[in-house]
């Protein structure tokens, strides 16, 4: 508690500092990332550490990030200029009346999976019926939609940050991302054959992750600078995948700065999993365009779960500003 308060105070201080104008021509942006410092954000760190944002006349401030900081909340409250979060969360913000737009979409496919120990005997989603399943509340839309879609009624529990809930046997099935928790389980000594994995995207509940979002007003006022931000961030990502040693080093440095214990193996594996989401077969970054079908599906999933209430799906072209 005390820790969280300290961090929030620190964050606010950083925000205040970021508002001090550095130069007449420099465009200042605060960037709020979704989770603790890890390879999930390597591209932004690389672009920042290489000085590419600054070289492009962008004064980007990467704000402290972690479970204490909700990018959507901070964006809704107007504390951040640029946020990196999920389409589902973004649509919920839009539904609540906050005018934000998607300016880039790196990951087209959800990396979320449901994972169980191999002896749970789960083969298809129907097998989850009646089992104890935990999932993160902020990412509940997809699993909950999956349960509806297959007409199953598991006992659902909220999930914290640790995978001990699964390995201790407290639940039968837990939620995980391919790039983080699945790697974590591997580094806890579990092999692929020790686990059963149901990727949500393979079962009709895909929702693109890690989009770049800004408020509409911001976009209208500083479109050129934001386009530059996207371009530089892409460069950072391309570089990160081509130079994993550098990327992992900078990630670990940031994690240590934030007091978050991690290790090289974890970050390196995370980056290598992300490769498959970010890069096409030729090793180039995807175009970064949000797919209108994914957009429509995400809205319907959220609406089906009552997580958005709007009768009408917001206009895709209004939301998508790539």
């Amino acid at each position: 508690m005390k820790l969280s308060q300290q961090r929030i105070l620190g964050c606010l201080l950083a925000l205040l500092l970021s508002w001090v104008p550095l130069g007449a021509s420099a465009q200042t942006f605060s960037l709020q990332l979704q989770w603790v410092p890890q390879a999930q954000f390597a591209g932004y760190y690389v672009a920042y550490d290489k000085g590419w944002y600054a070289d492009a006349g962008l004064n980007v401030r990467i704000l402290p990030h972690g479970p204490e900081f909700s990018p959507t909340r901070l964006m809704a409250d107007g504390y951040v200029d640029i946020g990196v979060f999920n389409l589902g969360e973004a649509l919920q913000l839009v539904d609540s009346g906050i005018a934000i737009v998607n300016i880039h979409q790196f990951k087209q496919t959800s990396s979320l999976v449901l994972v169980a120990m191999a002896d749970a005997g789960i083969l298809v989603p129907e097998d989850l019926d009646g089992l104890r399943v935990s999932r993160w509340t902020s990412f509940a839309a997809q699993p909950d939609a999956l349960f509806s879609l297959y007409g199953i009624r598991p006992q659902v529990f909220d999930q914290g940050a640790s995978m001990a809930i699964l390995t201790s046997g407290a639940v039968d099935v837990a939620m995980a991302t391919r790039y983080n928790e699945m790697v974590q389980l591997y580094l806890n000594g579990l092999e692929r054959e020790d686990l059963i994995v149901l990727p949500l995207a393979n079962h009709g509940v895909n929702m693109p992750e890690d989009g770049i979002y800004v408020r509409l007003r911001e976009w209208e006022e500083r479109e050129d600078a934001l386009r530059k931000f996207v371009e530089i961030s892409r460069r950072g990502w391309q570089y990160a995948f081509e130079n994993p040693d550098y990327a992992v080093e900078t990630v670990i440095w940031r994690a240590q700065e934030a007091g978050h214990e991690t290790n090289e193996a974890h970050q390196r594996l995370m980056l290598s999993v992300l490769r498959d989401f970010y890069l096409d077969e030729s090793g180039r970054l995807h175009e970064g365009q949000l797919n209108p079908n994914d957009y429509r599906l995400a809205w319907e999933l959220l609406r089906g779960q009552g997580m958005v209430r709007g009768e009408q799906i917001p206009d895709f072209n209004h939301f998508n500003r790539r």
Binding site: M1, F157, D158, I165, S168, G169, A170, Y186, N263, A265
Partner: protein, 643 residues
């Protein structure tokens, strides 16, 4: 090469090689056995140590568990009310050595209908015990492992180490126990904080050998304590396996998660040297406690033992080498003396005395035998010298005898420069230096008649030669006085029979050819029939009158036969040395072969015929030793044409 080395070198080499082989095999066996014993000891020692350490940890943890379960019972029976917990929590923290925080967190709205989060929490600070209410916005109690896992499983739970909520620099593990109401519905979770430091110090204090160390792994393989500070709480055995690319380390980690205890080699790559690991999985907590012992240290005592063995062994080798050299010198020195004596003896100096060897061993025996041999040899050679001298003398006398014998035989037919009308040639080839054959021819009646003869004494050598000489002399003496050859043989026989104590005899064939008429009278004393060749090309064995050998019996008659020779007719007389010459296969030359030969050569000159016969006999013998004298006489009648 070895063959050229001295006996001493070979003896030393073979003995040392054999002993070295035995030495190294036994040293290897000793090494393996000691190594096994040391490993067993190390295993026992580390097992003791790990179990003792584990017990220390478990004692502490059991204390915590006891407190937690005690509290749960009290909460379940309603001994404490939610608003009355702090004094008890304060007391719990104060009264325990290792509990640094105590908390009771209730299920949402379970303590009070309006309180979603109610979690009175007392915890140790440097200033004393502080209180706070845990849970609320920013700290979601219900999704924390320490709360959620016991809440869901209904069982106590030990967490992984994590930073304390009140001081992120303090790593804690939490023991949490769920408690229920009378209906069995979950009321909340009791959480007791244990500072990792207090457990870690137990492990850090472990000392095994000089550089051995202990370490602790969390259930997920995280390094809770380890000598590498920078790895602690950051790396797990699995992340290290990944980063260091050591699949064996990952396997080890999985094994440590799944089996209770084991003693095994630490996979290479973690330490710079080989090491052994003993680990034990702590019950309930599921932590793994391990000790690592570098093999270098573990096996240091072997190195010392082996070094000592090698030094002692090497000294032993030198001693042995010395002993072998001394013994073999003892053997070979007298042998060398013997060798030089033997060389001297071989050069003929049999007077050279052998070195005196007093030892009663085989070398002494050898030396004595060798000296006996030298003396025997010396005697033998003395005898041999004398014998040889005697033999040489006899041989020289025989040579003279032969010369004398040969001089008895007529060389050529001549009568005061007048050519007789015959072509005659005879030759004798002795088997021994002095032969037993004889031939003879001489003109009679002033060249009107020709006497010729051939004979073979029953023996060979000197006695035969003498007998032959006597026979020849008698023939010569009686030939002129006797009217015919038969009469002559009668007289010669009677003379030979006189005083013939040795029992020798002689076969004899003789004839007298009237050189004017070609009429030939002949008598035979047991000799082979000659071949006769007519000028018209016919040839035959000449029919001989009967007659006994000379010298066997006196006063016997020798009938005379006559045959008319025409111009060009020829005779060949021979001894049985021709027909009975044998080859290495013991086959005789034979009369048939002689007749065939004769058919080819009968028209040749007398000398050519004799040569041809000798050549044929030599060819037949084919290198076999000549056993009998060989003699041949050829005569061709060649009267002067009349008118």
């Amino acid at each position: 090469m070895l063959a050229r080395h001295s006996l001493a070198t070979r003896l030393a080499l073979v003995s040392l090689l054999t002993i070295a082989t035995i030495f190294f095999i036994s040293t290897g066996a000793v090494y393996t056995m000691i190594r096994g014993i040391l490993l067993e000891n190390a295993e026992a020692q580390s097992r003791e140590l790990v179990r003792a350490t584990a017990n220390q940890i478990l004692i502490s943890l059991n204390e915590v568990a006891g407190v937690g379960q005690h509290m749960a019972i009290h909460l379940q029976i309603g001994a404490y009310q939610p608003d009355d917990l702090f004094p008890m929590l304060d007391e719990t923290v104060r009264g325990s050595r290792i509990i640094s925080g105590a908390n009771v967190s209730y299920e949402p709205f379970a303590a009070f209908p309006d309180r979603q989060y109610f979690g009175p929490f007392s915890y140790q600070t440097p200033e004393g015990i502080a209180r706070m209410n845990l849970g609320g916005r920013g700290y979601d109690t219900f999704t924390r492992d320490w709360y959620q896992i016991p809440a869901l499983t209904g069982r106590p739970y030990w967490t992984e180490p994590f930073p304390s909520a009140v001081d992120s620099n303090r790593l804690i593990v939490v023991y949490s126990v769920p408690f229920f109401d009378a209906e069995g519905a979950l009321q909340g979770v009791i959480a007791l904080d244990v500072e990792l430091r207090s457990l870690v110090s137990i492990v850090d204090d472990v000392e095994i050998f000089d550089t051995g160390y202990a370490f602790l792994l969390s259930p997920t393989g995280r390094l809770i304590t380890y000598p590498h500070e920078e790895w602690v709480m950051r790396e797990s055995i699995f992340s290290l396996a990944q980063t260091l690319e050591l699949p064996a380390l990952r396997e080890l980690g999985r094994q440590m998660q799944r089996t209770r205890e084991a003693f095994l080699p630490l996979p290479t790559g973690i330490l710079d040297e080989g090491a052994r690991l003993y680990y034990l999985r702590l019950p309930e907590l599921e932590w793994s406690l391990g000790v690592v012992i570098p093999e270098r240290e573990l096996f240091a005592s072997i190195q010392r033992v082996i070094s000592a063995i090698l030094i002692i062994g090497s000294a032993g080798f030198l001693l042995l080498l010395l002993a072998i050299i001394l013994i073999s010198r003892g053997i070979t020195r007298p042998l060398k003396g013997l060798v030089s004596s033997a060389e001297e003896i071989a050069r003929g100096n049999l007077d050279r005395a052998l070195p005196t060897i007093k030892t009663q061993d085989e070398i002494g025996d050898l030396s004595r035998s060798f000296d006996d041999m030298r003396r025997s040899l010396k005697d033998y050679i003395n005898d041999l010298t004398q014998t040889t001298a005697a033999k040489e003398r006899i041989e020289s006398e025989l040579k003279i005898a032969r010369n004398i014998q040969m001089s008895f035989l007529p060389k050529r037919l001549a009568l005061e420069g007048r050519q007789l009308p015959v072509d005659l040639h005879a030759e004798l080839l002795s088997a021994k230096a002095v032969g037993g054959d004889l031939y003879d021819f001489f003109p009679m009646d002033d060249g009107r008649r020709l006497f010729f003869a051939i004979g073979d004494v029953s023996d060979k050598g000197v006695p035969a030669a003498l007998f032959m000489a006597v026979t020849k002399t008698l023939v010569k003496g009686f030939a002129e006085q006797s009217p015919n050859p038969g009469e002559m043989l009668y007289r010669v026989n009677n003379e030979l029979c006189l005083n013939n104590d040795s029992g020798m005899f002689v076969t004899y064939l003789c004839g007298v050819l009237d050189l004017t008429t070609g009429e030939m009278e002949f008598a035979n004393a047991g000799h082979n029939p000659p071949l006769i060749a007519r000028a018209n090309g016919q040839h035959e064995w000449l029919k001989l009158p009967p007659g006994l050998v000379l010298g066997a019996m006196d006063d016997i008659e020798f009938p005379v036969s006559k045959v008319q020779l025409g111009p060009g007719d020829a005779l060949m007389l021979y001894t049985d040395g021709v027909t009975e010459a044998s080859n290495p296969q013991q086959e005789l030359y034979g009369e048939d072969a002689l007749e065939k030969l004769y058919a080819r050569i009968k028209n040749h000159s007398a000398k050519a015929q004799v040569d041809a016969v000798f050549k044929a006999v030599e060819a037949h013998a084919n290198g076999a030793e000549q056993s009998d004298d060989i003699t041949a006489l050829v005569l061709r009648y060649r009267p002067q044409p009349k008118g």
